[in-house]
């Protein structure tokens, strides 16, 4: 599926820093589901986060999460319910979306389990997120994320949407 204009403030080739570590946006995976979209911007650099996720004005940096969660348990997960992670901590299910449609550009530094069939987003305070991507024929793949503000990413290029920041 081709990419469509979605007014994302990022473009492939932009460079920024997060907590002093430089990164470069090298590619994107755009996932569209029934309830919205996510842009997984692939980052190249010294930082620990290979993905910058953007959706409807919310931004999160994601990295692989070693937490093991049962596929069957996650399939039953409903928004509002709580799930205890094997690594500790309880997360509340915010989103459970099916049938994603994909579009992509550039290069990807760390592959997502594409095509996955089911995606669960869970959150807890403070600004702590876990994204669980379930590939139909494999164990769930988990990513741990932190919510960030757009301004935290310190992009060096003049922003095309500067008037809206």
């Amino acid at each position: 599926m081709p990419l469509v204009e979605d007014l994302s403030p990022f473009k492939v080739g932009m460079t920024g820093t997060f907590k002093g570590q430089e990164f470069k946006v090298v590619g994107r995976l755009r996932v569209v589901t029934h309830h919205g979209y996510r842009n997984y911007w692939s980052l190249k650099g010294d930082g620990e986060y290979p993905w910058l996720v953007h959706s409807f004005g919310h931004y999160a940096l994601l990295k692989p999460f070693p937490g093991v969660v049962s596929k069957n348990e996650l399939r039953k997960a409903k928004p509002g319910s709580s799930n205890r992670m094997d690594t500790g901590g309880t997360f509340q299910v915010e989103l459970a979306d099916k049938d994603p449609v994909f579009a992509a550009e550039g290069e990807v530094m760390l592959p997502l389990p594409v095509p996955y069939a089911f995606e669960i987003e869970m959150g807890r305070e403070p600004s702590d997120k876990v994204l669980v991507l379930i590939k139909a024929d494999a164990d769930p793949v988990c990513f741990h994320g932190i919510m960030v503000e757009y301004a935290d990413l310190h992009f060096q290029e003049p922003l095309q949407l500067a008037q809206w920041t």
Binding site: E5, L7, G36, G57, E94, A96, G123, R124, E125
Partner: protein, 418 residues
């Protein structure tokens, strides 16, 4: 600044039902478009820029305060109005309008308007925690009470949306308030979203979008409308407790420093003189610059009778005098199987601002002809304890907290009564 120049040129389409031009400004974020003229709802294909007709609203609400394409700066951020939705609670007749606002960096927000009250809502990144008491939730040091739980019907809409506006009818909504803030929990089959709202003064909305149209009239009290010049209930309680404490302490201090002093006390012959001469008390002396005394009468001989004592307090040196008039009557009996009594045998009066000097009382007694009084007890006390003054000041000190509490109570009753 021309804000529109900051976004790409919108996709220009036409309504297939009424030929009204339609602009799509949110491109790939847009899923649904509603014609502002005929209320036809279309599914939008962002790849082909193609509209597929879904349904048509009845189009009863065609005079919204904000229209798609309006731009402004609200609460420090630029927003483009992308659409509006008129909703109604399923179980009631309450109806409101939600204006959808878009900022490409910060995402979507909503400005809801009910009865002229405006609330700005934004999706939350961090969710509130349950307090496990009465469904209260906690967020950023505020406790939010449940205000309303409902599902809605979408009556009308116009503009572009990230989903079919009708899909909003599936959400189970619960609102929590801690004015001027509101938290809204929207639960659907596959999504949980919390919004944080805050009350916005109508004039601020008008100024933000530079509108010259008259604002919708505000009536009643808004769900999260703050009370003007409000004092938090806890602060009010503190004021009341401190006021009472201060007055009690002052009274105790005064009582300790200036205890009453009996100048004279004892039986006084109350037989009127034949020549109508006054009965005289013995002299008493007052030292202070301004003195307060209480003259007190106790006539134990009054029994199913009355006694009257008129008199004056006289300054021996200047002859200046202050009048008093005591009336005591005491009746009792047995009637209809019950004891009854009425009146009493005591009376008293306080004089203030008496200059220093020697004084005496001059008295003219009159007894009930059926029961004459020979003696009564007269007491003159310096620096009497004036409990009436204390209680008067106490009530006065409570007046401010009481007025504020009454005002707060009236405001909250109106809020929750809506």
């Amino acid at each position: 600044m021309d804000l529109k120049s900051a976004l790409p040129v919108p996709v220009r389409l036409k309504c297939s039902k009424c030929s009204e031009p339609i602009e799509v400004r949110t491109f790939g974020l847009c899923r649904s478009v509603v014609c502002a003229r005929c209320s036809a709802v279309f599914k939008y294909d962002p790849l082909e820029h193609y509209l597929t007709h879904q349904r048509t609203f009845n189009g009863s609400s065609k005079d919204p305060f904000l229209r798609p394409g309006d731009e402004g700066i609200l609460l420090g951020r630029r927003y483009l109005v992308t659409g509006w939705v008129v909703k109604k609670e399923v179980a009631t007749s309450f109806q409101w309008t939600e204006f959808h606002l878009f900022n490409p960096v910060h995402g979507f927000a909503q400005l809801s308007m009910f009865d002229g009250h405006w609330t700005f809502h934004e999706a939350m990144r961090v969710y509130p925690r349950p307090a496990n008491i009465n469904d209260i939730v906690l967020f950023e040091r505020n406790a939010y009470e449940v205000f309303n739980t409902y599902q809605c019907r979408v009556l009308d809409a116009a503009g572009e949306f990230t989903e079919d506006p009708k899909d909003q009818e599936y959400a189970k909504v619960r609102e929590f308030i801690a004015p001027p803030y509101m938290l809204t929990r929207e639960l659907r089959d596959n999504e949980l979203t919390w919004y944080q709202g805050r009350y916005v003064e109508p004039a601020d909305v008008k100024a933000a979008f530079a509108k010259s149209d008259p604002l919708p009239l505000r009536s009643g009290v808004g769900a999260c409308q703050p009370m003007r010049m409000a004092i938090p209930v806890n602060a009010l309680k503190n004021i009341a407790v401190w006021s009472v404490g201060l007055f009690v302490l002052t009274q105790l201090l005064l009582a300790f420093m200036w205890s009453p002093k009996v100048l004279f006390q004892g039986p006084q012959d109350m037989t009127p003189s034949a020549a109508n001469e006054p009965l005289l008390s013995r002299d008493f002396h007052l030292d202070g610059w301004r003195n307060g005394i209480e003259v007190f009468l106790r006539a134990d001989g009054v029994d199913n009778s009355w006694f009257e004592l008129a008199g004056v307090v006289v300054n021996n040196a200047t002859g200046e005098s202050r009048k008093f008039n005591f009336n005591v009557e005491y009746y009792h009996g047995y009637e209809g199987g019950e004891n009854w009594k009425e009146g009493g045998v005591e009376d008293g009066i306080v004089f203030s601002h008496l200059p220093a000097g020697d004084y005496h009382l001059e008295m003219y007694p009159t007894s009930d002809p059926n029961r004459r009084i020979a003696y009564a007890s007269i007491m003159v006390e310096e620096r009497p304890r004036l409990w009436s003054n204390f209680f008067f000041l106490l009530v006065l000190s409570m007046l401010f907290p009481l007025i504020v509490w009454w005002r707060h109570n009236r405001f909250e009753t109106a809020r929750w009564g809506e």
